[in-house]
Amino acid sequence: MPTVEVYAHETLGKDLHALTFASPIDLRANHCQPGQFLHIRVSRSFDFLLRRPLSLCDADVEHNRLTVVYRVSGEGTRRLAARKPGDLIDVLGPLGQGFPIHDMDRRALLIGGGVGVPPLLELAKQLRASGKSVQTVVGFQTAGQLMLIEELAVYGEVAVMTDDGSAGERGRVTAALTAELCADADRYYACGPSVMLRAVQEEMSGKGVPGYLSLEERMGCGIGICVGCVHPVLRGGKLANAKTCRDGPVFDAQEVVFP
């Protein structure tokens, strides 16, 4: 499988890392979409048999490098955190359907929670590159978990929410989705935990803004062959189980059903 070299591995905060590696595909020849993910083996050992999905956070087309930003949340990501520049890692991707960018849009609202924030960075970059204005709202449990705020601020205003009020405003991201903010937006793009996405979906559909949700499910294969990662969607009036790895992770918010 595609084995690529680690270029840089930075610590962004407690248990938070940015891993940059040679892209398994030629970025000049192949466009990669924000919201797509990389599927990474954290070790050759059978102790970590399955790959870990991590969102594309930055694509450096010039140097043909990709960056993922991840939080150490279990043994697998802990193992990944030990990789050093020059090490080889086994990476599949970018995989899946990312966030579509619509030509006619002028203003995009980006909404991220926790480890759902990283894909918003490449998204903001590509949105700006196609001339749209970007407004971002991100939420975290607590100040210690903040990430990528300055990087996102390069592309537009960033509002920060924390559950405990230790940074930005106290409250959930939905509290920041004021009528004012949303009236302006042609479209929203959200990535974060299920509870957040569900709340965002409700809030924004109430406000009549169309958008996209990037869903998170446990994956077996990441390439659409195990049917492990499904999420219910309404298609043609019928309930279906879509594969988040191949039909998603990004879905039109209208079709996503939260069970």
């Binding site: 446990r218 390439i223 062959i225 195990c226 499904v230 069970p259």
Partner: protein, 314 residues
């Protein structure tokens, strides 16, 4: 690869089917082939086994459906599939692009009548080379597992299906039984043309933070390298006892693993979980199998089948 590898004959006969090599993806670990085809030319495969097909469409179980374990994984997909009519109309025709690759359709259901109806439907399809009866899915209530754990029920099922099948019928057995040989013999006597062993082993993982089973379904099926010794033992015991071919499956990650199953008595092998870890697992395993034969002076892979017990006598 080197030139001398052309000397190794990897082909095996399985029932009426000629397989150019003994390696095929396992049911449920390859979907219907479309996705894998973006990674390699499926023509290299010995055969293809597609996902379990039921009479009606099934949405399967809620998520999480998969969990990682030491050298393995648990799944509780719950037989999600579009139903036999759509499988025949939408999925199987795409595999005509690989005319040298027999297509085996895995069939599941709740009652004998379901199985019979699905097999009847499939028997009209030009795209089906053989049927694999999945009487061993541990992940759905009434999902066939009762047929897989009672020899009389299994035999009745096989007999019923054989009356309508126009293709060879392979029975896929569950390892979750006291006496695998008894199950195998019951199926053989009822007319099974071949056996596949093993399906997944029932297992569970508890989420320590949530303090409840990690899979939404509670338990799931254990697969991967962890179960290889269980599968090898069952293939060994069954293949030396029955007179129909056995297809081995469980934890195959490398060519050496495939060879181990052949030595244990399998005529062909299926690769499941490995496809998730490495989308190129099947072609790699085929290459490694050939390479092993070259290095060990094996001219035809058929020489290896069952050697581990043939040497000791039966």
């Amino acid at each position: 690869m080197n030139g001398s590898q052309g000397d190794v004959d990897l082909s095996v006969s399985l029932l009426s089917l000629h397989l150019k090599n003994p390696v095929m993806p396992a049911s449920g670990c390859f979907s219907f082939g479309k996705e894998a085809a973006s990674f390699y030319d499926l023509n290299v495969l010995g055969a293809i086994v597609v996902k379990a097909t039921t009479l009606e469409e099934r949405l399967g179980n809620p998520t999480p459906r998969v969990a990682e374990t030491a050298a393995g994984m648990l799944n509780a997909i719950g037989l999600q599939n579009p139903g036999v009519q759509r499988v025949m109309a939408e999925e199987l025709p795409g595999l005509r692009r690989y005319p040298s690759v027999p297509v085996i359709v895995n069939v599941a259901g709740t009652a004998v009548e379901d199985y019979v109806a699905v097999v009847k439907a499939l028997s009209t399809s030009p795209d089906v080379s053989a049927i694999e009866l999945n009487i061993s899915c541990p992940n759905v209530k009434c999902g066939g597992i009762q047929f897989g754990s009672d020899p009389r029920l299994a035999a009745a099922m096989v007999r019923a299906v054989k009356t309508v099948a126009t293709r060879p019928v392979i029975v896929k057995l569950s390892p979750n039984v006291t006496d695998i040989v008894e199950m195998a013999v019951a199926c053989e006597e009822a007319g099974a043309d071949a056996l596949t062993l093993i399906n997944t082993v029932i297992g569970m993982k508890i989420d320590l933070e949530q303090r409840r089973p990690l899979l939404a379904n509670g338990s799931g099926g254990l697969s991967g390298p962890a179960i290889k010794p269980i599968a090898i033992r069952m293939v060994y015991e069954v293949s030396r006892y029955v007179n129909i071919p056995v297809i081995g499956v469980g934890g195959i990650m490398t060519g050496a693993d495939a060879i181990e199953f052949l030595l244990a008595g399998a005529t062909a092998v299926q690769v499941g979980t490995a496809n998730f870890v490495d989308p190129l697992a099947c072609p790699r395993i085929i290459d490694e199998t050939r390479e092993w034969c070259v290095q060990h002076g094996v001219r035809s892979i058929r020489e290896l089948i069952g050697v581990s017990w043939r040497a000791n006598g039966r």
